[in-house]
Structure formats: structure tokens, C-alpha cells
């Protein structure tokens, strides 16, 4: 499956990653080589094999619906780039 620059552009957009024109062509080269290597998978017959998401075939555990955490907003916001009155600040979204 050949990789086009438009694929890289689309992935960069979906991943919210700024990529310049120069970088995009470099990524096309690198990612193409990686995907060529990955394409070896296509030669293997996996008809009827159930996909494995977790190495121990475990299922998600449930716990009682109880409050266990205390509010640590001030502590957690100490590492934020910009906060005010307990809110994270970002550029204006709604005019």
C-alpha cells in the first residue's frame, strides 16, 4: 500500500501536528520504508484468527461506584501553562 504525501498530511491533521512542506516529504520517505516493512504481514494467512488486544485475554475489571479521590485541582493545575480561577486558559474559541 503506497503512501502518498496526502496521507501524511491527513495523519498530521488528525494528530494535530504541524508539519512543514520540507518535513512532509521527509516523512513520506521514512513512513514508506516503515510501511513497506509492515506490509510483510499481508503475506500471512490470518483467516479466522481472533485479534488479540491484551496478552492475558483479560477483561476490564469493575469496582464499586464510590468516591475515592479527593479534589486536588490546585495541585494538578500547578504544572499547567496558563490557568485562572481554576480554569485552563486557551485562545478564544467562541467570538
Amino acid at each position: 500500500m503506497a503512501l502518498e504525501e496526502s496521507h501524511v498530511r491527513r495523519a498530521a491533521h488528525l494528530a494535530r501536528l504541524a508539519v512543514s512542506d520540507d518535513q512532509a516529504s521527509g516523512f513520506v520517505d521514512d513512513l514508506s520504508r516503515i510501511l513497506d516493512m509492515v506490509d510483510q504481514l499481508q503475506s500471512l494467512d490470518t483467516e479466522g484468527v481472533t485479534p488479540l488486544a491484551h496478552p492475558l485475554d483479560a477483561t476490564q475489571r469493575l469496582r464499586a461506584d464510590e468516591v475515592t479521590e479527593t479534589n486536588q485541582r490546585d495541585t494538578f493545575q500547578r504544572c499547567a501553562p496558563a490557568v485562572e480561577n481554576g480554569l485552563y486558559l486557551v485562545p478564544r474559541v467562541v467570538e
Partner: protein, 486 residues
């Protein structure tokens, strides 16, 4: 003091030969003298370490000291450590002071061990040479022109150079075992779910696992006993009792059935690495083990499957770095999208961007089934290879890496770097445990013997590794670099 293993240091602290404060000051001095050449630490927390040492000494004086109280350790900079910079080797987190500690860190603190600091690593644990760190590459103490391996390269180099008796690493595709092999130390990747991932910065969540890196299997056994166990804060940690890993170390190996996967001795394996590994297997035969060839037929699909699954999980995990809640934020964003895209472009390095893009692409509409579903099917076949092999043999043995440590700058092409992990990566896909132990040298650089067991066979792996270390002294050999410092 630095010549001693962690086990010997624990005994010396217990007998009062020296205090934890003296021991901690000794290692801090070695770090100060030697680490300018190695670059194995990102942060050294000297003041906190000396305070912790005093607490440990007081606990010992009061008769409350546990077996590892007062032992200095280092933590890969992927473990969140409350009040300490936790960078994950990335510019993105260069300003991140963790507001809480990983479960592993809490357990080590509760055991009274001392943290000397945070070790260098490939950015977000993505790499096999430690050359992808924002803080610069780490040097291998056996040869300063060689890489230490990765991604836990700082932890491996620091232990090998005698800057710390043991360190914590993480392993997603070989990141404990390969640097342990390259630096001539012992490194254990436990079964997936054996050690809590809470507070460990996530790379690929279905593969990541933390483990000890030390001078000997016995040292690793002591440390695994501290960090293993169920944790309600990690939904994938396993509810299963933790055995006494030290107790079983001396069990005799007569009758042990060893399998040598024929795919691990094929093309691409350096002849002098193969020779060292086969010599090690002979030592096991002399200890009463029997050896037979086995097959893991899907071995060569492991790297392709990994480079779909790991980047897919990474692209999702790393979406949290948005320049809003923590981490790097670009200057003067014009709008919210500019804030996201530029903060991420400035904060992440090249390899991280590659994996985010690969993962985003393979998960996207039109490609998901061909890549992601296919890779997960192959993952099941790879795991089944191991389960089938363990029907016939107790453990598998082979090289940890096809070559000894390569030169800094030698692997410019990402794919050639990925292929280095051929013998370690399938282990993470299968979720089984593996250990690398020193087994000789190739061209003056250490060779690691990798031993694999079935799920939750850590006690057996440590026993098998320890018996080898009773019969050989590869693990006690030190690089000349370590002797240059008092």
C-alpha cells in the same frame, strides 16, 4: 562500596559496615565525577537522596528497617516522581514537575530505598540506542563510542558504570533487556500486568511493563519482590499473589528443559554473539539441563506487527500532550488549533512524530482493518508460538540482541534500528517475562543471554539466571571506566 552488588550492600548496611548516608554520598560523588562523560542522568536529586538516607539510617537505628532500607537506586525518567521533574526524555515534558508518584516509586519509597535521580532515555521510550533523547545521547561505559542501547539506556549505563547499584527501567519491545545486554548487566522484564503501570508515562499500554536492572539476578529478585503486585489504580495489573523471588534462587537446575528457538540463531546474528550464547547454554548443560531446538514460526512477523500496534497505541496515548493542561506550550498561539499543532510540533522529536503519524495513519478510515486488525491477529499467532513451545520446554534461551552495542550514529535509518529488536519484541506482544544476563563479550563489548519463560514464570527465570551467575562471573566484570573513579 560501588563494587558491591545490591544484595551485598543490603548486608553491609544491616551489619553496620557503613551507613546509608555514607553509601548515598559515595554514589552521588561518583555521579558528579563520572556522569559528565556518560550523560546517564537527566536529574540528580542529591538533597532529597541524603534526606531519605538519613530517614533510613534512623529507621535502622530504631530497629524498623526493611531488607532494602537505605539502598540507593535510580529511576528511568518515565516514572512520575512527586515534586521532581519527570521529562520522559522529551522537550514536551522538560517543564513537568510530577504532581504524584508512580506506584513503583511509592513501593520503593515504602521499602526505604533512596532515589538518586532520574535516568536518561529515548524520548517517550521510543528507541533502541538512547540517541532519541532531548537531553542528548548516553554513552556506553564499556566503550564511550558505543550506544548503551535503549530505551532504558541511562539506567543501564549508570548501573554498569557503578554510579548506582540498580535502577528501574521499562520495556515495551526490549527496552530493559537490550540495554542490559549492551551494558553487561542483568535486566528483567516481568509478565505484562505483574508490575503496576500507574504513574508510568504511557507509550504502548498493552505492551509496557516496568522491571529492575541490576548487577545480578539475585539483586533483581529483591527488587521485583518490592515492585510487583496488584494495584487498583492500574486496571491491567493482575490480581495474583507475589511469590518470594529470593527464596527459590538456589533450586538446582537438574532436569531443566531448555529450548533454543531456531529462528533466534539465523541470518543476521553476529557470529561472536552466537558463540557466547552457545557457550552459556553449555554451562547449563553442565548444570544438568537438557537442550533441544524448538521453533517459533512467526518470529519474523513480530517487528511488523509491533510497528503497527505500538505506534497505534502511542498515537492515542500521546494525544494528551496538547499544550493546555501540562507540558510544552508554543508562544503566542493565534487560535486553539495553532496552539495544539505548534505545541506538539515543537515539543516532540523526530522519532516520536514518525510513530504518531504511523499510528494515526494505520488507525484511520480505510486502513484500520488492513493494518491494525491484521497486526492483532498476528499478535495472537505469535503468542501461540510461545505457548506451544512451553508445552515442551521450561524456558527458552537465545541472544538478547543480534549484535553487541553498535557505534553512536551508526544507524541513521529508522527501519535498520527497528530490526535490532528482533529477539526481544515478540516477548512483549506475547506478554511473557524475559531476562537478559551477561554472557561474555564480542569485540570487547558485552553480550546478553536472553532467557524467556511462560506467563508469571519470573521466579523460575530468576532461579535459572542466578544459577548461571553462580557458575560464571560475567556479571561481576566491570568496565575500566568504572575503576577510574574512587
Amino acid at each position: 562500596m560501588y563494587e558491591k552488588t545490591l544484595t551485598q550492600l543490603a548486608a553491609a548496611l544491616k551489619s553496620g559496615e557503613f551507613s546509608s548516608r555514607e553509601l548515598t554520598a559515595h554514589y552521588l560523588q561518583r555521579i558528579e565525577q563520572a556522569d559528565g562523560k556518560l550523560n546517564s542522568f537527566i536529574s540528580v536529586t542529591a538533597e532529597q537522596a541524603l534526606k531519605q538516607a538519613e530517614v533510613a539510617d534512623n529507621a535502622r537505628a530504631a530497629g524498623n528497617a526493611g531488607p532494602l532500607a537505605g539502598i540507593p537506586l535510580a529511576l528511568k525518567d518515565i516514572f512520575c516522581t512527586q515534586g521532581v521533574k519527570t521529562s520522559c526524555g522529551s522537550k514536551m515534558l522538560d517543564n513537568f514537575i510530577a504532581p504524584y508518584s508512580a506506584t513503583v516509586v511509592e513501593k520503593l519509597n515504602a521499602a526505604g530505598t533512596i532515589s538518586l535521580g532520574k535516568t536518561n532515555m529515548d524520548e517517550f521510550a521510543m528507541g533502541s540506542s538512547n540517541e532519541n533523547s532531548y537531553y542528548g545521547p548516553v554513552k556506553n561505559p564499556w566503550d564511550l563510542t558505543a550506544v548503551p542501547g535503549g530505551s532504558s539506556g541511562g539506567s543501564a549505563a549508570a548501573v554498569a558504570a557503578g554510579l548506582v547499584p540498580a535502577a528501574m527501567g521499562t520495556d515495551t519491545g526490549g527496552s530493559i533487556r537490550q540495554p542490559a545486554a549492551f551494558c553487561g548487566i542483568t535486566g528483567l522484564k516481568p509478565t505484562y500486568g505483574r508490575v503496576s503501570r500507574f504513574g508510568i508515562i504511557a507509550y504502548a499500554s498493552s505492551l509496557d511493563q516496568a522491571g529492575p536492572m541490576a548487577r545480578s539476578a539475585e539483586d533483581c529478585a529483591h527488587l521485583l519482590g518490592v515492585i510487583a503486585g496488584h494495584d487498583g489504580r492500574d486496571s491491567t495489573s493482575v490480581s495474583r499473589g507475589v511469590p518470594d523471588y529470593v527464596e527459590g534462587l538456589n533450586a538446582p537446575l537438574s532436569g531443566l528443559k531448555i529450548g533454543l528457538p531456531k529462528e533466534y540463531f539465523g541470518d543476521g546474528l553476529a557470529p561472536d554473539v552466537e558463540k557466547a550464547v552457545r557457550e552459556a547454554v553449555k554451562v547449563y548443560e553442565s548444570l544438568g539441563a537438557t537442550v533441544r531446538e524448538v521453533s517459533l514460526p512467526h518470529t519474523h512477523y513480530a517487528i511488523p506487527a509491533y510497528y503497527v500496534i505500538a505506534p497505534a497505541e502511542a498515537s492515542s496515548n500521546l494525544s494528551r500532550y496538547d499544550g493546555v493542561r501540562f507540558g510544552h506550550r508554543c508562544d503566542n498561539p493565534s487560535d486553539l488549533i495553532d496552539l495544539y499543532t505548534r505545541s506538539r510540533a515543537e515539543g516532540f522529536g523526530e522519532e516520536v512524530k514518525r510513530r504518531i503519524l504511523i499510528g494515526t495513519h494505520t488507525l484511520s478510515e480505510g486502513f484500520f482493518d488492513a493494518y491494525y486488525t491484521k497486526a492483532q491477529q498476528v499478535r495472537r499467532l505469535i503468542r501461540q508460538d510461545f505457548l506451544d513451545a512451553f508445552e515442551d520446554v521450561d524456558v527458552l534461551m537465545g541472544p538478547a540482541s543480534p549484535t553487541p552495542a553498535f557505534d553512536l550514529g551508526a544507524k541513521k535509518d529508522p527501519v535498520s534500528m527497528y530490526l535490532q529488536d528482533i529477539y526481544t519484541i515478540a516477548v512483549n506482544l506475547a506478554g511473557i517475562p524475559g531476562i537478559s544476563v551477561p554472557a561474555g563479550f564480542a569485540g570487547g563489548r558485552p553480550v546478553g543471554l536472553q532467557i524467556l519463560g511462560t506467563h508469571f514464570a519470573e521466579a523460575q527465570l530468576l532461579n535459572v539466571a542466578h544459577q548461571f551467575q553462580q557458575a560464571t562471573d560475567w556479571h561481576l566484570q566491570r568496565p575500566a571506566f568504572a575503576e577510574e573513579y574512587a
